[in-house]
Structures are given as structure tokens and as C-alpha cells.
Amino acid sequence: MTISTNVEASREQRNSSDQYPSRIARAASVLSGTALAALGLTRRGWTRTTLAASGGYLVYRGITGKAAPYKGAVRVAFTIDRPTEEVYSFVRDPQNWPRFLQGIEMEPGQEGSLKLSLGKPAGLDICSEAIVTDERDHEHIAWSSLPGALQHRGVIRFRRAPANRGTEISVAFEYRVPAGPVGRALGLLVGWDPEQLVRESLRHLKQLLEAGEIPTTLGQPSGARGVKGKALRVIYREREDEEIRLAGD
């Protein structure tokens, strides 16, 4: 998939991150590789070979620093049963962003740029700054990140849906995270999945505009959860420590 935006990430920028992954990423690669190899050596047969070999590879990459950044592409589309003008205006208004963005904090920066924060999973402050590279009212908004560890660029499109079904809103973007698949795997471990964040943000947007509120069960009563119940709540992303969102009021 290609996304056409007006800004092409420069070759130097890509190369620099290819060649020099952060120290943290390299350390992570060495550590996880060692753990994997050690686990492999305690096993028998094919498991042993596979785990040990993968572990060894991660250690090698960690030490040599040859970790290509992980490149990902995300496409998410929703149909919202509201007029295109209304959806576009709602999305464009920074005051509405905290109401529907899920796991992403975004605020206007200087000179029309956007400041993004992905919170602090595992204490890592993941921030990025982006600029709008192209925009046409009620049709699309394209963006690209400014130089930084996290690179991303993409486009939000608004299109009238057939048969008076409202507006098709789609987000398509590419991103690069340092430290390759290890970086991405670590991200997933702490609940950072770009596809999930964007999909749930768009879902919240749809729910707000159509139903006037975002459905929730956080704060409802339950019996004793026990260890198993609490573990399942993490897996189903229903953690109680999340802020209870009283949407629409």
C-alpha cells in the first residue's frame, strides 16, 4: 500500500535510524535474545534449535546494532451515520480530540504542527511532532511526522457513503519504530498497537456522533474476580484503573 502525501521522508533520515538504533533497543535485543536462547537450551529437539537460534540472532543484532526499524502500515475505515461536513468539523476541532482519541494524546503545537503523545507505556515517554502536509475541507487531511525516533505519515479521508448512510472516514498511515520487530513486540507487550489505537479512536468517534456517548462497563459492579478474572480483564482490555469516561456530557 502506498499513501501519497506531499512529504517524502528523507533517505538520510531512514538510513540514520537503520544504522543507529537506540541504546535501549539494542540492550533489549541482547537481553531478550539471551533469555530466548537460555530457554531454548533447556528444551529438547526442534524447540531447542529454533529458540536457541532465534535468541542468538537477537543477541547478534543487539551487539552489532544491525536492527532495521519496524515498518508497519495501518488501514482502518468506519462508516458514521452523520453528514460529511459534521464529521469533518468534529474531527478538525482540537477540543473534541480528548473525547474520542484512545491511547493517543494530541494537541496543537506551534505553527500549525501537531504534538502527539502515546502516553508512557512502561515509563517510556513516546512523543512525536507532526505537520499537516495537505488538506482539503470535508475531503482529506494528510500528515507527516517531523524527524524523531517515531516516524509516521498518513491521510484521513472523508467521503460521502452511498445510500444516505452518512460518511466513510478512513485513516491510512505508515509508521516506523526503532529496534525492528523487537521494538514492536515490546510495544505490543505494553499495549501499544497503532492499529488498535486508531481503530478504537475511530470507533469512539462513531459512537459519540451516532449514539451521543461511548458505551462502557467500567465502574459497574461484579462479584469476586479472583486472579483469573483479573488476568482476563487485562487480556480483554477492561482494566479498572482506566479513567471512567462520562462521554457526551
Partner: protein, 396 residues
């Protein structure tokens, strides 16, 4: 408050939990006056519904009095007596606007789980797994009802709780099962399963113009209750082959439509049945689609197979060649409750039907754990259990 909580397979307990609060502007809190155990709750009890969490409050058939409303609730007020449908719907999305209420786009907070399993998410349901919303259910003293202006219907004072309680699920579910059959005057309808949904499907099929209804089950009390509604009965324990028997009973044509009011935990005494049980026991499948196989095989050419029975996952050895080559229509889905509640309430008001006929057990909430066991084992001729959450348990 007191609530019945799921704590694992074959383990439900009455626990003291927090009272529910209004969490969203369109919520209401209902003080529950009557609640029931549904046959589909037994699928949860037996451990066949995925994405349950220990501590979940069960129950999706309940009614009561509104005691609190959120800031955006105008059409309901404190003191209103309402029946709450088991499906939760926003009322504003494409599906709600097109009367496909159980497919509402906006009522499942965990839609992503359902999307992984089913491609798209159906509506949220009360007390029926986290994939379908994870909403606390109504086998409790109070419940929080989201989108309270859309689902609950007010009931007139002249009708008792027992007469209107089943508008929450089983009466509309049986009715939609029959309506999906496209019944024309003179049709013959075969219905597998004479539990509560089957009983309402039998009566609804007659209301919609069926000439003959063949009710299939193995429990005499259920077959007797079917007979009271003028159904012909077929005890599958007493015949060699249900499909052949149906052919014999319908002049060699086969039923015009077949209703599977059983779902994923069908019983029978046959080699395929043993095979399904073994697969379920090994967690290779959640479903035992024995009835669906028979219904497809038995249905006449060009007929309809209607499936109100609940299935969860992947079905094995479905005779799809028979369905295709006989040109069958298959209809299914969770009930589009809000389409049926008002018209069926009117039928109750006009005394065309008194849904309380199906009740066999009236108990307190404290007695619910025992009632689940009794209902599962079909002991004491149990067909339908109604609970009063405020009644003190009878001293043993």
C-alpha cells in the same frame, strides 16, 4: 446488593456486590422485581460460552422499576415499571434504524473481540460474555440499563410481572423464530426443542397461520405443554430416525419450515452425537449442531430453516449440500427485540396469550445456584425458573 455471579464452569454463587451506578448520560438504573433463568444461561453455566470472567453477574431476562435516570433520559422517569430487553441498542445507527436491533453498531464496548471472532460485532447483551459487551446482568437486585429510552418498554398496571416478564427475551425470540419461517396459511412447521423458546415458537407459529406444528423433544412434561397448544408431538427417544418420522407425518413432503430452538448443546443417542460430545469435551468445538443437521435434512425443498437456538463458533459436518441443492433459506440471529416487544405486549393485553404458562419454578435469588442445577438436569420437570430477587430464601 445481591447478585448471581459466575465463578467458573458449573459454579454460580450469590454474592454481595456494589449497587450499580449511572455511568453514561443515557443510562437508567432499574430495581428488579422479577428475573428469569434462560436456557442460554445454561450454555454459560456449562462453560461453552467463551470470554466469560469469574465474577460476572449473569441474567438477561428481567424487569422492574426505574429508580434513577441519566441526564439524557427524557422518556423514562423514576417510578416507571419496565421490561428490559436482553439486547442493548443505541437507536441511532444504521442497524437500529432498519429494525436490526440486535446488530446495533454502538452498544458493545468490546466490539474488537467480537470482530476478531465474527468479522463484525453484534450488539451488546446483558450478562452474556465479554465478547458481547461484558455488561453486568439482571439476576440481581438492581441493574444498570444503557440506552434506557431505546430498549425498556413501560407496562400497564393491569398486567402482572409474570405476564410480561418474558417480553424480555423468550416470547419475542420464539416469535421471531416463527416469523422467520414465512408461514403461509396451511403450512406445517417442525420445531426442535420444547423449552421455553420452543413453546413460544409453537404458539407463535399458530398465530401466524400454521395449520400443523410438530414439536420435537424427549421430556414428557415439555411435550405435554406443547400438546396443550395443539401441537403434534414427536419424542425423538421413541423413534429410529427423526427425519424419516417427519417425512411420514407430513405426507412425504417434509415440513415447510423447521425451527432449531435448541442450539449448541443438542442431545441425542447416535454415533454423530457421541462424536460431537467428544469434540466439545476436547475443546475442539463449542457447538454440537445435531439439531441443525436434522433440520436441514428434514426440511422440504425450498423451505426455511429458522435458527433462534444459540451457536457460538464453528460448526462441523453441516449438510450444506442438502441446504444448497434443496434451495433452502436459512434465517437466524439474536432477536431484534425492540421490533417485537410492543406488538407482543398488545397481544398479552388482548389476552391472546398469557406467557406465564411456561413457568414451573418460582424461587428466590438465593436459591438460584440450585435452580441452575435443577434446570440443567431437567429435574422436577423444570421448564422455566422465575426469581424474585427480594424474596427471602425459604428455610430448608
Amino acid at each position: 446488593m445481591k447478585a448471581l455471579c459466575w465463578q467458573g464452569k458449573n459454579n454460580v454463587q450469590v454474592e454481595t456486590v456494589d449497587d450499580p451506578k449511572v455511568l453514561n448520560p443515557r443510562d437508567a438504573i432499574v430495581r428488579i422485581t422479577r428475573t428469569a433463568i434462560c436456557g442460554s444461561d445454561l450454555h454459560i453455566y456449562d462453560g461453552y460460552i467463551p470470554t466469560m470472567e469469574p465474577g460476572d453477574i449473569l441474567g438477561h431476562e428481567f424487569m422492574g422499576e426505574v429508580v434513577e435516570v441519566g441526564s439524557e433520559v427524557k422518556r423514562l422517569k423514576v417510578g416507571d415499571r419496565v421490561v428490559v430487553p436482553f439486547t442493548i441498542a443505541c437507536g441511532n445507527c444504521y442497524y437500529c434504524k432498519n429494525q436490526l436491533w440486535s446488530l446495533c453498531d454502538n452498544s458493545n464496548p468490546n466490539a474488537w473481540i467480537a470482530e476478531k471472532m465474527y468479522g463484525y460485532s453484534p450488539s451488546g447483551l446483558f450478562g452474556y460474555s465479554h465478547m458481547l459487551g461484558g455488561y453486568a446482568g439482571g439476576q440481581a437486585q438492581y441493574a444498570r440499563v444503557p440506552f434506557a429510552e431505546v430498549g425498556p418498554i413501560k407496562v400497564p398496571d393491569g398486567l402482572s410481572d409474570e405476564q410480561v416478564l418474558f417480553l424480555s427475551d423468550i416470547f419475542p425470540t420464539g416469535y421471531m423464530g416463527a416469523e422467520n419461517c414465512d408461514i403461509k396459511s396451511g403450512d406445517v412447521i417442525a420445531i426442535w426443542g420444547c423449552g421455553a423458546v420452543g413453546q413460544f415458537a409453537i404458539r407463535s407459529a399458530f398465530m401466524l397461520g400454521a395449520e400443523k406444528v410438530i414439536a420435537i423433544d424427549r421430556f414428557l412434561e415439555r411435550l405435554n405443554l406443547a400438546r396443550k397448544a395443539n401441537a403434534d408431538v414427536l419424542n425423538y427417544n421413541e423413534v429410529d430416525d427423526v427425519v424419516e418420522e417427519l417425512k411420514w407425518m407430513t405426507g412425504g413432503r417434509g415440513p415447510d419450515a423447521c425451527i432449531d430452538a435448541v442450539g449448541m448443546e443438542a442431545h441425542a443417542h447416535s454415533v454423530p452425537a457421541l462424536y460431537d460430545r467428544a469434540k466439545q469435551a476436547m475443546m475442539l468445538s463449542f457447538d454440537r449442531p445435531l439439531v441443525l443437521r436434522q433440520a436441514i435434512q428434514a426440511c422440504r425443498k425450498g423451505g426455511v430453516v429458522s435458527i433462534p437456538g444459540v451457536y457460538g463458533g464453528f460448526l462441523d459436518k453441516i449438510p450444506f449440500g442438502a441446504a444448497m441443492n434443496k434451495g433452502l433459506t436459512l434465517r437466524m440471529g439474536q432477536t431484534h427485540m425492540m421490533k417485537y416487544m410492543q406488538p407482543l405486549l398488545e397481544r398479552v393485553q388482548k389476552a391472546e396469550i398469557d406467557p406465564s404458562f411456561v413457568i414451573t419454578h418460582r424461587l428466590s435469588l438465593e436459591e438460584a445456584p440450585q435452580a441452575y442445577e435443577t434446570f440443567r438436569d431437567k429435574e422436577q420437570q423444570c421448564i422455566k425458573v422465575v426469581l424474585d430477587p427480594w424474596k427471602e430464601a425459604k428455610a430448608a
